[in-house]
Structure formats: structure tokens, C-alpha cells
Amino acid sequence: MSIVDVGLVYGVTVAHGKIHLRLTMTSVACPVADVIIDDVENELDRIAPADLQIQVDLVWDPPWTPARMSERAKIFMGW
């Protein structure tokens, strides 16, 4: 399962020379958020055209709920 399957990616926009990705975590007590953001930035850096800026924002509103999970993730988790 990826962070997209879990529903952590709230949206990606490409406009005005910038890729803007909004990301959440399931818990504010999660110390791994920065590592995940770094990984997202590095992946975007690898695949995006060289002239695009990358912006990854960690957001908490709206809060994550299980309803955000993909069908694939829900099937895997026995929903």
C-alpha cells in the first residue's frame, strides 16, 4: 500500500511553474512526517520537469478519516 492508497495525499496541483502537493498524516504524534515529506519531495524531484518548483505542505484540515482509503486498501484491510 502506498500513501495514496491510505489517503494521505489530499491533492496535487501543477500551476504557475510549481507542483503543489498537500499531504496529511493519520496522527499528530507521528515523528515520521518529515521523512515521508522528504521522500515525496525526492520522488517528485526525480520525475518532474526540471523547471518546475516543488512545494509539499503538511495539512491537518480536514482531518484524515478511513473514508479516504482507496478501495484496494480497504479490501486489503478486510473492509
Binding site: V6, K18, T26, S27, V28, A29, C30, P31, V32, A33, D34, V35, I37, D38, E41, D45, A48, A50, L52, Q53, I54, Q55, V56, D57, W60, P63, P66, M69, A73, F76, M77, G78, W79
Partner: protein, 379 residues
Amino acid sequence: MQLAHAAGTRARRAVTPTPLLVLAALMLLTGIAGGLYRLGAMPSAIAGTDWLGRAALAHAALMIGAFLGTVIGIERAVAVKLRSAWLAPIASALGGACLLLGPVHAGAWLGVAAAALFAAVNVVVMRRQPAVHTALLWLASVAWLAGNLLFATGAGSEAVLPWWFGFLVVTIAAERVEMTRLMRRRPAAHPLLFGVLALMFAGAAASSFAPHLGGLLYGVALAALACWFLLFDIARRTVATKGLPRYMAVCLLAGYLWLAIGGIGWSLTALGAPLRDTALHALGLGFVFSMMMAHAPVILPAVARIKIEFGRFFYVPLAALHASLLLRLAGGWFDASLRSMGAVLNAASIALFAVTLVGAAIAWHFQHDAPTVQDILHG
């Protein structure tokens, strides 16, 4: 390519707590040394030293408060991104250093300060995200505070240890509850958990004035909590995956079995059976260290900014820990020398895990940073 919020990235990385991590590692090493000294398993060259005698006396305080309390405090400080949140792990690590160096009362009260500060950090966490798992994180910190207050005021181990282990067990429960949100909500799960934890805290509280009853209740609650984990945790599903998630699930499931054994051992000890070592170390090593081995490949990159290349070798120290614990607890039942040998092998398993982490960090470096043949050929 530019990262638009490079300044923000630097802000996220402002604190890499290397000195604190080194101090926490020292607490672990001295805590283990103290534990081995208790079992007569330390080389005679250092067996008479003052610090080792103090480490033996403070074995549980070093392992639970000074090592795990510091590591958990660091983990939470990294998450909340508040400078003041670092005061908790700084106080717990310095408290442990005092316990080793001589000013034992100062060390104990620094532990109280650490837990109080940590409880305040968890209030911040709870306010940012009001949820069952954040409330449990706060409850865990209160248990640590209760244990440290009892320790500082001279209470005996039968009163202190239930609160200290309560801190660890409820912290782990909080993290697992958070993960169960990925599964379909089962109506009975939360009420059952709250009932089990209420029983656990009742047992911890009663242990101060009615140790037999308190210990019995506490052990029953631990065993019931193990059943709850086995019923409701996502590990039963993620064990069917591969790579790191499967390894973590194996660590968790093995840990839950030891939690059940620790709980049964705790209750039987309260009833008079000679199972104290089983109760304490099935819980401390079998359950808590299994959880630590599960989470270290994920948490270490977050707190130490060191990337890890996961590989199957991680199963070797895990298997060594569980096999040596079995030798210690089952073999120790028949022969005290097997208990000592098991304890030495427990320590060796933890050392092997540390070596594995170092090797995994070097492997990541070679996989991702080392120049490829093409890089070299093309200058």
C-alpha cells in the same frame, strides 16, 4: 529543480539530537550492564566499580525511564516541533546520568520533572488532535509520572514497576489503536480496551497498598491486553505483506505472545510463584524490545536523520532475542546458570540489532549515494 520551501525543510531539520541519542544509548548500555551484574554475569575487571553497583540498583529506572523514556520523549519532540518539548528527554537522560554517577535523589526528581514535562507535551498533542490514541498517549505519560513520583519518594519496586510498565504498555497501545483505524471499526474494540486499561490502572494503584491483589489484577489486565492486540491489531493482516511491514508484523505478533506470558507471570508472582524474572523480562524484553525492534527501522530515520536499507538480516537479531529469552525464562526455571546465559545472550541480541542498524545505514548509503559504474565512466 528547486524545492520551493527549502527554508521550511531546513526548519524541519533544525534539531538532530545526536548528544541526546548518545546519552540514551549510554543509558541502555549501562542499564544492560547493571542487569547482567545482578545475575553475576559481568567480567570481574569491572564487577566492583561504583557505577556498576549503582547501575544494578537502578536497572529498571535506567532501562525504562532513562533509555526508553528519553527515546519516546525525543520521538514526541520531533513530532510536535516545539523546542520546549525537548526538555522532557533532556531531563530523563540527565536523571539517568545522576542515578549512575551518585546523586540518586536528584536523578529520581529529574525523572519526575521529565515525566511532568512529557505529560504537558502530550496535552499539546491531545489538543491538536482530540482522539482516543492521543488521549492514551497522555494517559501513558501520567502513568510514568505516577511511577517516577513513587520512585522518588522511596516506594518499593512492587508499587513503582506497574506504573513504569504501564507507561510503556499504554504508549504502545495508543500507537496500535491509531493503526487500527485502517481496519473496519468493530464496535466492541474500544470499550474492551478501555475496560482492560481500567483494570490495569486499578491493579497498578492497588499494588501500592495491596500488592497481592494489585499484582493479580495487573497481570490479568496485561494478558487481556495481549488478547485484545491479537484480536484487533492490523498486524494479523500486514504479516501477509512482505519486506518491512511483514517484519514489523512478526515483531508485533511475537511481542503480543510475550505480553500474554508476562501478564500470566505477573499474576502468578503476585500469588507467590517464583516467576518475577519471567513477568518482568517477558514484558520488558519480549514485548517492549520487540516493539522497539519493529519500529526502529522507521523511527531512527525520523529522529536521527539516518536512512536505513531494510533487509532480511533484521530477522536474525529478532530471532536471537526471542530464542535467548526462551532460554533465560524456560531454561532458568531448571538451572540458574541457563538464566545468566540467556541474559547474556539477550544483551548480545540487542548488540546484534544495533550492529544490524549500523549495517543497514551503510547499506542504504551504498545503494543511494555511491557512484554507479556509469557515473564513474561518464565523469
